[in-house]
Symmetry: C2
Subunit: 399 residues, 2 copies
């Protein structure tokens, strides 16, 4: 037909993640590729009860259109939790319900990015954020990271040269893909730089409540006195993702822009799903539930990392996450994890090649592993197989 | 803070509809402004049963992430209905589940529109589509309409002059806002023009199944031999809107583009809501339910139109819809329905001033009325009050 599409659709497609995730559908593959939460952790009985109660008590209101910003009672509930748990003091008016955090990323891109603008991000960073921002035809200032987070010198140097930097996108807790957590000092320093250049910071915190060791660190939003931080939270990782329910906290000016876009994008998020989550929160102790989640994921991490220590060759370095769902493996520079991928698949194990997490490319020797949704047995079996794949690849280098 | 937003956010805001809808929240206002489906028509008991069954039978799968395109079984079910009911023969692979039709409009804008491109639409047309397309910084070729739909001469003349026309957006059945339905001949003729210029047609058909008199007319999609028609359907008007579940049917090439954008936008639509609708469709006869809906809306239309005939001055013309939820009122040219609006509100009745439905402005003497969600008593009361407002306005002209 030769239809004329918008320029934003003409870039090359990044199908690495999509292809990797397709493999998770094959039942004989042990997949560390996806970042699915453990289904056995979902509070199924409680959600079913909440849903039934919503039908009984809210009746047809549960099935009707509702407000663009989201249900007021749910936004008030979130405001209360944020204040108690994250030291973020926001009114319901500063909170919007989104159809998952993915929608929040998309909407923030939409309100800030002109073609040719720059998004500042960690190197590596969350692939799906990069893919989404790219639909706004932006470029990336990819900032070097160390054990404490974004490196301030690199951030300053790159921002000084870039008048079109419009958003700083960060995941300070148990980062996707690296599993690393920023230090408090680094959080403060990045916020100072953002303030100096007056650039909004999109703080993505889906895993923040899944800390299973070490002390809580302050969110950037809790230290934000200028209203520059746009905070993204989600029920996907602490409750379940299938209801597509996340939230944004921002200053009124940004909230006004986001509301316009939300209305254009899907009018509002599902009424009944918002009511069901609210009912769950009213009838259950989500903090007790989160404690259970932490125990589940801590154990899975320990199983995976113990197996890695035992089975991976000494040349394979990996991060030790204090929470969340991911660890990040670095192989010798000569090894391309994309090229190695078919060999892993041949041994019935999958990961995500690391190159896809670098928006400007160039790093090919890393990979992301998720321990969140495999059984202990499968984790050990998969890591054993991967250890063999890595050992062979390293041996081949020495020939 | 003086943040730098994207250029797409800098246009003037159209808050007319938002402001009008806010008034519907006041309990003492009789609102004909919104287009909410009648809540008493929602199959509450059946939906509650479907939901409960999903929790019991699907367990944690109902709460997990699911595929970008939507659940295969639901897409297959829709394919079957489309084939039986609308003479549209599509595979599940050509169907995507969206978070309501609003999301479909947004995604189609996103894949086709560069800044400065043109969207071809009826005059008048659905405001929220215009607002959404405008976020892609497009312009509008607003085509004159008569009783049979878009006027072909005007369409041809405008397209011949416009190399950047990228999408033709149409609502052939019980149009929003006019309540009019296109003739079969006009449908064929518009499709021929679209084929001649190779421009995709976005066929928005949320009300098509709510026909309560006259014979079914073929959808454009059912006559589409070139794969140029992108069809949008929704469960919002035939079941309930609170689950945010709609669908797009398109050729594989367009589907591929839409899938990329869907993934960026919100990953996928709610798993549990898709399963609940599927369960409802498996366990109930939706066609029998739709027959009930038709009877409900036919009666409401009759009540409103009978009251209009009785209470409106003879200078007020209005359309006679054969289905759907809207009628369109035309007052003498000298009357501006936006200026008249406060007088209607003073009498506790609301409509939507018509100017907002014309993307290029210029028509100020019309208004949209919805009879879908008011009780018979309120309809009569509201129409009586509006009749007085109109009669006074017309009398004032003659002074």
């Amino acid at each position: 037909m030769n239809l004329k599409y918008a320029d934003r659709m003409l870039g090359e497609k990044n199908d690495v993640v999509k292809e990797a995730l397709k493999l998770t559908a094959q039942p004989d593959i042990i997949s560390f590729a996806g970042g699915l939460p453990a289904p056995e952790s979902f509070p199924l009985k409680e959600m079913a009860a909440a849903s039934q109660k919503v039908f009984e008590e809210k009746g047809t209101n549960a099935l009707q259109y509702s407000s663009v910003e989201g249900l007021l009672a749910l936004r008030e509930k979130i405001a209360k939790r944020m204040s108690e748990y994250h030291n973020i003091h926001a009114d319901a008016a500063n909170i919007m319900i989104t159809s998952g955090s993915q929608q929040a990323i998309d909407m923030v891109g939409r309100i800030f990015l002109n073609p040719g603008d720059y998004v500042v991000c960690e190197s590596p960073t969350y692939t799906a954020a990069v893919t989404t921002f790219k639909t706004y035809q932006c470029n990336f200032l990819s900032i070097d990271t160390d054990e404490d987070g974004m490196m301030i010198e690199d951030l300053e140097a790159k921002l000084a040269d870039c008048p079109n930097a419009k958003v700083i996108y960060v995941i300070p807790n148990f980062q996707n893909p690296s599993g690393k957590t920023w230090s408090t000092e680094r959080r403060k320093a990045v916020l100072e730089v953002a303030e100096k250049y007056n650039i909004p910071v999109l703080e993505d915190n889906p895993y923040g409540e899944l800390r299973y060791e070490g002390e809580e660190l302050p969110t950037l939003k809790s230290m934000d006195t200028k209203g520059l931080v746009i905070y993204m939270g989600s029920f996907s990782k602490v409750l379940c993702p299938g209801l597509r329910c996340g939230y944004i906290i921002s200053c009124p000016e940004v909230m006004d822009m986001l509301t316009q876009i939300k209305q254009s994008t899907d009018l509002h998020s599902s009424t009944i799903n918002q009511l069901t989550i609210l009912q769950y929160l009213n009838d259950n102790d989500i903090d007790a539930h989160i404690l259970e989640l932490r125990a589940i994921y801590k154990h899975k991490r320990d199983v995976m990392l113990d197996a890695m220590k035992k089975c991976f060759p000494k040349e394979a370095k990996f991060t030790y996450p204090h929470g969340g769902m991911f660890t990040w493996v670095e192989l010798p520079k000569e090894i391309d994890t994309q090229e190695l991928f078919p060999k892993a698949i041949a041994r019935k194990v999958a990961y995500i090649p690391g190159a896809t997490f670098f928006p400007n490319g160039n790093v090919n020797n890393c990979l992301r592993m998720s321990y969140s949704s495999s059984s202990n047995e499968k984790i050990i079996q998969g890591i054993t197989a991967l250890g063999e794949v890595f050992t062979e690849a390293i041996a081949a280098l020495k020939k």
